[in-house]
């Protein structure tokens, strides 16, 4: 069984993969190592974890104006997430999503941070602004 969330397109395109969820905002420059795709911010819940090829589900961006530049670099190094799902629109996350060239959706009708957990299988349809979620528990049962 899947759950469908509806919002609006930030960047078009379609991608699917495993979710990596954080309830904390993410710093780009100084918060992420673009060479490894890992979160490095002191005390961040995801510290040491990589978002490479994950569907990154997060509240939004914070910190330095180098956000777009650092996430842009992750595209060059092959460390970028596959798609972005987030709540709070800012210039940092909008520009970062654009230059990362990954599907991105925001403004969803249910809070993605409440619905999606790390490990869930998520399909992001950036063209229609739709996010489909298959819970990890269900994925395990069917396999």
């Amino acid at each position: 069984m899947s759950i469908t969330l509806r919002g609006r397109t930030v960047v078009p395109g379609v991608a699917e993969g495993e979710a990596l969820v954080t309830h904390e905002t993410i710093s780009g420059w100084g918060g992420v190592n673009p060479m490894t795709g890992t979160i490095i911010e002191t005390r961040h819940a995801l510290r040491g974890q990589s978002f490479k090829d994950k569907i990154l589900v997060f509240p939004g961006a914070k910190g330095s104006s180098g956000w777009s530049g650092v996430f842009h670099l992750t595209r060059l190094t092959g460390m970028a997430p596959k798609a972005l799902v987030f709540n709070e629109m800012t210039t940092k996350v909008a520009l970062g999503a654009v230059v990362m060239r990954v599907p991105a959706v925001t403004g969803l009708d249910q809070d993605p941070l409440q619905v999606i957990e790390t490990g869930d299988w998520v399909r992001v349809d950036g063209d229609r602004g739709v996010v489909e979620v298959r819970k990890a528990a269900a994925v395990r049962q069917s396999s």
């Binding site: 918060g31 842009h72 210039t91 520009l95 970062g96």
Partner: protein, 438 residues
């Protein structure tokens, strides 16, 4: 990226349409195309004109140079096209028609060896600087353009990078900018446009959270801690402060805003009765009701201090870094004054970062010489976090900037202590951290 028609909700002027259609040349077309993608991502309905853009246009490191297979001849156009404009096609970058400046970055051309920079990094920095300068970009090389020659006027629409400069621009000067990125500022330099979104619009400049300051906030260190506390509590929203603070000066604004933009994403704040868009509590909030009232008292102050010192255990300090954001002249005077006739510990390095503009004045006043005579270094263009440069073998740093205390340990994997400028100079002289909350 291939051209496609902008969405119906984005309204373009004839001049913008002409740029998008390529009638103003390839570079402006690619720049406009990126700005359209960006405006659509934001959900903006139009662009605003700007004649004040601060970014890091076309700057490159050996990584970008090698990644794109550049040569010294084609590097600027190649990297500006591929990275800055996110264009798959390489275009020739024309001279800027918009007032544009280069923020911090690259390598200090005088102190590069102290910074431990490799000759190829210096070469890349100097080549991209020369190319940018030839296009008409002012090379300020600082995170503090507002004390190095670019002071926007109230109400002026800007497109600035550098979160600490953005929050200063909006809150202290009453000019208007969102936190732009490298790609959007480089595109704005070619087009004079930026999405009319966020803080460019009156309705988005009012406060959201009420911060009641219930403890006296006077010193630079206290303003840094207050900023760090506020940013963590309000995130990307707009705090309105009332209570027990005096009228801050430039360096207190600088440290407060930089801290709030690091622990959170604060791009604008109001100090009731002080900052230009907050003559009263009511005018600061406008039509908004405060979503939350947050008290900053002794307990909050103590906890903030502890958070900023959470990455320090060893009190033997081997590095003191000052000048985040880049030191203002009064800070250079204070540092030189504290070091007059003193000698820093043989086990410790002291680096003071500032802009080229401030350093020129400090040189002529003899302040740089005083700092050097004590064993310290005055460096420009970068900082330890931006340049990822530490004295060899650094394990424990002392910092007077909450922003730097937030970033440096995370980026460089070292310990750090946070305190006053005096605490830091004391640590440089004794090699030992004696700072405490008083």
């Amino acid at each position: 990226m291939t051209a496609r028609a902008p969405s119906a909700s984005l309204i373009l002027t004839d001049a913008e349409r002409a740029m998008l259609d390529g009638r103003e040349g390839k570079a402006r077309q690619k720049a406009m195309l990126l700005l359209v993608r960006y405006a659509e991502a934001l959900g903006a309905e139009r662009f605003v004109e700007t004649n004040n853009v601060a970014g890091v246009p076309g700057t490159y490191t050996p990584f970008l140079f090698n990644y794109y297979g550049a040569t010294r001849e084609n590097a600027y156009d190649l990297i500006y096209s591929r990275f800055d404009l996110d264009s798959d096609e390489v275009v020739t970058v024309p001279n800027m028609t918009v007032h544009s400046c280069h923020l911090q970055g690259g390598v200090d051309p005088e102190g590069w060896q102290i910074l431990g920079a490799k000759p190829e990094a210096l070469q890349a920095s100097q080549d991209s600087e020369q190319a940018a300068s030839a296009k008409g970009i002012e090379i300020l090389k600082t995170c503090t353009p507002y004390i190095a020659g670019n002071v926007p006027a109230r109400g002026e629409h800007c497109a600035w990078m550098e979160s600490s400069a953005v929050v200063y621009c909006n809150s202290v000067l009453g000019a208007r900018t969102n936190t732009e990125g490298r790609e959007s500022t480089s595109a704005a330099m070619l087009t004079g446009r930026i999405p009319d979104w966020g803080l460019h619009r009156d309705a988005n400049r009012f406060g959201s959270h009420h911060i009641e300051v219930d403890v006296p906030v006077e010193s630079l260190m206290d303003w840094g801690m207050l900023g760090y506390f506020v940013g963590a509590r309000v995130g990307e929203r707009i705090p309105v402060l009332t209570g027990r603070y005096g009228t801050p000066d430039l360096i207190r604004y600088k440290h407060f805003g930089a801290a709030a933009a690091s622990s959170g994403g604060v791009e604008m704040y109001h100090l009731v009765g002080v900052t230009p868009e907050a003559p009263s509590f009511e005018s600061a909030f406008g039509p908004n009701r405060p979503v939350e009232r947050i008290r900053y008292g002794l307990e909050e102050r103590r906890r903030t201090y502890e958070e900023l010192n959470a990455r320090g255990t060893d009190r033997n300090v081997d590095y003191v870094m000052l000048g985040c954001p880049h030191a203002a002249l009064e800070q250079m005077e204070e540092i030189a004054g504290l070091l007059e006739g003193k000698r820093i510990s043989a086990n410790c390095n002291l680096w003071v970062f500032t802009s080229r503009a401030i350093k020129a004045v400090a040189d002529s006043r003899g302040l740089t010489r005083t700092i050097r005579n004590a064993g310290g270094a005055v460096l420009t263009d970068t900082c330890s976090a931006i340049g990822q440069a530490l004295p060899p073998g650094t394990r424990v740093a002392a910092l007077d900037s909450a922003k730097q205390a937030h970033y440096l340990p995370a980026i460089m994997g070292i310990q750090s202590w946070f305190g006053s400028t005096r605490d830091c100079i004391d640590a440089a002289i004794t090699g030992h951290w004696n700072g405490e909350l008083t």
